[in-house]
Structure formats: structure tokens, C-alpha cells
Symmetry: C4
Subunit: 250 residues, 4 copies
């Protein structure tokens, strides 16, 4: 069993890699002086998917949650104890802030030279194309429900492993699989809200955006920020509850 | 062996995930206020492929058919008993309706604001670019024949597993493989008819489109609906018959 | 060991699936009334790559060559006997013709309605963007050399398996790996000549194009047809010769 | 243990395949008479990623470094002895020159006919969209840090294997995994500088560009060339130092 200190360390590191690379791909497609500018939605989704691949395979010792919605879902099913939940979530949020700051450093010159600096919030955190909190919430709930249901219904890691993302007996396979699921959710369910499906991935970079000295930056849109927190948590909890009712052999 | 009740449950759930995500990617590329609008054919195919990946890996206990053409092909080869066939198919159709309804919920605001509401049928079910029933049937037969032949000629799951999609001894590998096959069929053979290659995937969402209160919606085009049912079933049966004649070691 | 009759059967079937799907993706991106029209080079490459995945995994019992350049390379290294070579190649060419005919059937209505029927040759066989036989030959030699060198330097199938494409102990992994190599060669070395890298894949569909009753079709360009035969064979033989000189542990 | 001579041979061959295919994809998207022209950033990244897949799986006997930053990182952690480092790096640089020359041969006719011959340097080596050495260095450090940290924190190859890229017990899996990481870094962190993340990949082709008789070629921009050498080495060393401090079970 991984110690709580190690859980904190690996979740922080994995989530930092996740938001460094995930925010990075959006910076790449949206900042004027970037080689990937205008690269399209499939590029964004492969960006986030392989960000999950990288972050999850680094965070293997802690079960590679790197997402509070997964931690909540696994707490509902009893795979993770409620006492561990705050440690996971704190590490995930701090890591997510850190990764977003590193993304800003990697793209510093592009932030300085972009033609639409007020639109840079979307690099850090999600927002709806049609603002309407209840239906935006529904979209985030459905997307996260698919993610967490998939995680819970698939084979757990080997006995003795820390509960988390299934690794199918091989880290490369398991983290490729979860990357494909995230790419799939982005392709299919990311259109309306930009698919947070992870409260830390949204809140952490939003905090970074509020703090960082980005030239001509816009509002962090705190008014919307509760939706990509509440939606994924509800989706994860619903998936955990459904899993309890399903005849899953463990 | 999985019980008939569990077959029903898992096929329903897996097919619901399939059409939720599959219809979702078409919604994403075609609704005006969606982030993936205009995303192109490769995005659509990765969307459907990873929808198969998600749905099949969730429906593992029932053999992950989530497609009546596969169930028919495996009934021809004797891997599935004919008595089970109606249970599979009923679950697949009900699941497919349910997934399409969830897709509509996820994209509710985009349906409400799209610039061409009468063209939304293509999000739910397939249609030919050049209408001509016999040749449209040929296209669907060929595409499904490739899918089912691939499934039957590849190693069966471990002894004792429910017959279905090959898992190559590892669920992540098997379902990635079938996803690659579906992406490949979409890339290569999906151009003329939008590749149903699965009667439930077409009929279920078509029923949902007929029923759902979509603003300004068009016709569900019932006149074409038999083609994406008959074509895939014929293709699956032909693949099963060829497989019986091939020297496949089991 | 697979019998010669079975080698013939599986190579024919596998190569037919290869050209059905491979020519299919080019039809999809180039025929006016196809859903993938204008889909771009990455779509073409994923199309051919997953065509290799499908064809190779079906042709597993014969070693999944489905390409005379691979058969020649493995004859040079002694893994395949020279007596078997004509059986492999004959099956590959017949299969390639058959697959191209099926592709035409799948896209019959799109061939009938395309705006540039004289340009349909490129759907079936390759051609250079800048005609110059010696340098076109160099391009095909280099591309095929990479393919066959990769095949020969990677772990052979389990002892007792028919020599051919490495399967890394698992068919899904091996054929995904060779698909990635083909996608990579298309991405990187396909720009000048359209990457035949397989004499059967080019000659078979060229014969089909010459024979099929395609409305308003152009010339099959027989004058160029020797380049995508000679280049890949030279590339495969060179890779086999280099492999003989390398310290590869078997 | 692989002998030093074999290390030299395999690293040279693997790095040659890497730059042949990697430079090839940039040639394909940027030369006027190439089939992939204008193919976009995702195509470039899949090109480099599958170039790594091909090169790494060929260079398996030497640990598949094919990148001095990885060699330095593994020297810091003590997995590779400092005495071997010069052999690795010399082979990598020579191989990288050789691969770039082969890329030029494959695209000879396209170099001769391109509309912007002075802009061909970008096919061979990287350059910043906004020149500023310190921040360009930061970008290269961060990108390489992710690559080398991922390599070091993931399971080492089987005991007795040459230390290098993790193979997760299966070469196809391991090299697909590192390819996904490289595609991910390109998607997410490649926008500002074109992601060298490998000193040999940049220096070798830059030397080739300086030497090759390319019609109307531009400057090799030697003034920038130290950044894609220093940045990746610093990133690799930092990842090695962090790894020493992390509680990684070996």
C-alpha cells in the first residue's frame, strides 16, 4: 500500500503533468504565434488524452486518479477510504495549479504576442458555448459518468495495488486505455462545455489564470466555476452508485 | 457463463454507451454552437471507434456484441445459441434508444441553437449520399462483412468466456483492436452510407429522433431504415457462413 | 506449419481486405459524393494503416505477409523458403485484384456521380507528383526498406509460427505495431509517390482499374507500373541483406 | 549486456530511422509538390511519434535511447555508466545526419520543385516562432523534462536488459507508449519552438542541411543551434535529479 505522503506526492506530480500538457495543447491551437494554431478539435482531444496517459503513468503508485471525480467514485464503492479523499483532492488541486503555471512558462512568448489576449482564459479552464447552468451541469455529469463508470466496471489492478485507474495488468495498456476513453469523451461529449470532467483540472488552472501576470488577460469567470466542480463530482458519485448495484465480479 | 439476465443488462448498458458517444461525435461536428463543429471525417471515425472501445469494454461480461450483426454471425457459427439471440437484440435496441436520448440531453442547448435544425437526423441515424437501395445495401453488406469476419477469424476469448468480440487475452487490447477495425471501416467504407454496420446503432437512435422534442427537427426517413438493418445482418451472416468454410483452428 | 494451400487462402483473403480498405479510403477522400471527401493525408494514412491491421490479423496463419516485398525480404534471410515465394505472391496479387473490385462495388454510386471521373486512377494505384523514374524508385526503395527492416529486426513470432510479421506474442499487439509503422511511412515518406511499398497493393488494383467498367475512367498508366513493383522488391531485398549482416539474436 | 560496438551500431541505426521519418513528415507537409502538403500539426506529431516508434523498436538492443537527453538522464540516475555516454551520443549524432540525408534523397524531386526553397531549413531542424533564447530554452527544458521523467518513473525493462526506454515487458507496448508521449509533447508543448527535445535530432539534420546541395536553400541558423542542444540536456539532467529524490521502487 502506498503511504499517504506518497499518495500526495504522486497525485500532485501526475496532475501537474496533466494540466501542463492539457492546457498546453489548447495554448498551442489558440495562441497566434504557435505552430499548432488552428489545429482543430481532434488535436485538442489527442492532446488531453495523451496528457492523461503521461500524468496517469507517472502517478501509478497512487492509483493514478489525478481527478477528484474518480476519487469520489472509488470512495462510494469503498475502494478508497473517505479518510484518504482530502489528501488526494488537495494534491490534485495543488498539482493542477502548478502544471498550469508551467504551461504559462512554456508559452510565455506566445502569451506576450497573441492577437487576442482577452480570450486566453479558455487555455486554462472550461466554459460553455451556450451558458445555461442546469444543462451545462447535465453535460458535465454525463461525460464524467462515462469516465468513472468505465473505470469502475473494468478489471481492478492486481491485488495489493492501490485502487484507481485499471491497468489491465500492464501500466502501458491501462493508461493507453484510459487515454482512449478521455479522447473519446472529448470527441463525443466535449462540444457543449469543453469537458472539464475533472474538478481539479478546471479549478487549478482557473486559480493560476487569476494569479499569473498574463498580458491583457480576461476574466477567470468565477461565476461559472462551480459547474465544472459540481458536475464531475455528481457524475462520479452516480457512477459509483450504479456500480454498487451492478453484478461486477471483483 | 453469464446469465441471460446479465446478458440483457450488459448489452443494454454497452450499447447505450456506444450510441451516446457515437451520436455525440456527430452532434459535435454538426451543431453550430459546438466546439467540434466542422471537425472532419477522421474525428467522426475516432469518435465512433472509441465509442465502441468504451461500450465494448463495459459490456465485457456478455461478450461485448453491442451489435445484432455480430450476434447473428456468432449464431451462424454456433458460438451463440439461437435462443439467446432475441435477448441480445432486444437489449441492444433498447440500449441504443437510451444512449441516443442521453446524447440529446448532453447537446440540448446545441440542438436549441443550431442554424440547420432540419438536418439533425444525421446525428442519430445513417443515410446515403446517393440514394439507391440495392447499392446502398451492397455498401453496408461489405462493411459489416469485414467487421464480423475479423471478429470470427481472430482468437476467441479464453475458454469459459462468453463468446463475442475477441479479447486477445486482455480486455484493453481486444477492445482497442475492435475499435481500430471500426475506425478503419469508417475511414475506408463509410463514405457512401455513413456506415451503420450495426442495425441497433441505426434503428435505436432513429426511434429516439422520431420521439424526442427536438426544435424544428426533420423527418426520421423511415423509408431508408430497412437498409441499415438488412445490410448489416446479411453481412454478418455471410461472414459467419464463410467462417464455417475456413480452416480456422479454435 | 501452415500448408501451402492455407498460405494461398489466407494471403489471398488478407490482401483482399487490405486493398478493399486501402483503396476505399482514397475513394472516400477523393470522390465528390463521399462523406470523407477532402479529408486529408492523415485520414488516408490511418485508412491504409488500419487496412493493414485488418488484413494482417486475418492473414495470421500464413504469417500475414500480404506484401511481396516482405516475402522477398524473409526469403533472403532464409525464414521463408524460395519454393513458397511464388505461392505467396500469386495469392497476394489475386487477392489485391479482388479487394479492389469490392472497393469499386462499395463506391459504385460515387464512381457514377463523381465530378472528375478521369482522375479516379489514384484511388486504385500510386503515381508520382513529379515523374522521374530513378528518383521515384529511390523513394519507394527507402520506404519499403524501413518497413521490411523493422519487420526483420523485431522479435519473430513464437517458435513454430509461420515466419512473417512479428506478433510480439499477441496478434493484436503485433498487427497494431505494423499498422503504426505503415501509418508512419505514409506520414513521413509517402509524399512523393503515394507509397506503394507493396507490389501487389499497386499491381492488383491497377489491373482492376484497367478491367472495371468505371464511368469516364482515365488511363491505368502502365508506363509507371514497374516502379512500384521494382522499388519495393529492391527495398525488401536490401533490408534482408542488411539484416543478414546485423547481430540480431533470434 | 549489449557490447559497446553493438550500442554504437543500434543507436546509429535507430536514430537514422528517427530523423529519416521525422524530417520526412515535415518535408511532406511543407514542400509544394508533396501529397501531404498543408497536412497540419497533428499529422506532424503522429509523424514524429511513429518515427520514434520505428527507431526505438529497431534500437531495442541498445536500450533505444536515440536521444542524448535520455542518455544523460540515465547517467544521472546511474543506470548508464558515464563511460558509455560518449559512444551513445556519437552514434546518435552520426545516425541523425545519415537519416536526414536519406530524407533528402526520398524528397529530392520535391526539394527541386518547391516554391519556397529558402524556407526548407525547418524540415531539418527546429526554430522558435518568437526568438528569445532564455524563454526558448525554458520551453525545451520543460518538454524534455516531461519525456525523461516519464521514462525514468516507468518500469525498467526486464532485469538484464540494457537500461533505456521502458518496454513494459513487451517491445511493441513500450515503444508505442513512448511514441504516445512524444506525440503528446508535440501536441502540447511543441508550439513555441518545434520541440527538438533531443539534441541529436536537431544537430544532426542541421549539419546535413548545411552540407547537402539543396536548390536555393536558406541559412542553417547556427546562432540558434545551441538552444535545442542545451535545453534538452538540462531538461534530461533535471529529470534525472528529480528521479533520484523520488521514492521509485526499482
Amino acid at each position: 500500500m502506498t503511504s499517504l505522503g506518497e499518495v500526495f506526492l504522486w497525485e500532485l506530480l501526475g496532475t501537474a503533468i496533466l494540466t501542463l500538457m492539457g492546457c498546453g495543447v489548447v495554448a498551442n491551437v489558440s495562441l497566434s504565434k504557435s505552430l499548432g494554431v488552428g489545429g482543430g478539435w481532434l488535436l485538442v482531444n489527442f492532446g488531453w488524452g495523451f496528457a492523461v496517459f503521461a500524468g496517469a503513468s507517472i502517478a501509478e503508485p497512487s492509483g493514478a486518479h489525478i481527478n477528484p471525480a474518480i476519487t469520489f467514485g472509488l470512495a462510494i464503492t469503498g475502494d478508497v477510504s473517505w479518510g484518504q479523499v482530502p489528501v488526494y483532492i488537495l494534491a490534485q488541486i495543488i498539482g493542477a495549479v502548478l502544471g498550469a503555471v508551467l504551461c504559462w512558462a512554456a508559452y510565455k512568448l506566445q502569451f506576450d504576442t497573441t492577437e487576442a489576449p482577452a480570450d486566453t482564459r479558455g487555455i486554462f479552464c472550461t466554459g460553455p458555448t451556450v451558458p445555461n447552468a442546469p444543462w451545462n451541469l447535465v453535460t458535465e455529469i454525463i461525460g464524467t459518468f462515462v469516465l468513472v463508470l468505465w473505470i469502475i466496471t473494468n478489471p481492478p489492478a492486481s491485488p495489493g495495488d492501490t485502487p484507481g485507474v485499471p491497468d489491465f495488468g500492464n501500466a502501458a495498456l491501462g493508461y493507453a486505455a484510459v487515454a482512449f476513453i478521455v479522447i473519446g469523451i472529448g470527441n463525443s461529449l466535449g462540444g457543449p462545455t469543453g469537458y472539464a470532467i475533472n474538478p481539479a483540472r478546471d479549478l487549478g488552472p482557473r486559480i493560476a489564470y487569476a494569479i499569473l501576470p498574463i498580458r491583457g488577460k480576461g476574466s477567470p469567470e468565477w461565476g461559472y466555476s462551480w459547474v465544472p466542480i459540481a458536475g464531475p463530482i455528481i457524475g462520479g458519485v452516480l457512477a459509483g452508485l450504479l456500480a454498487l448495484a451492478l453484478p461486477i465480479s471483483s
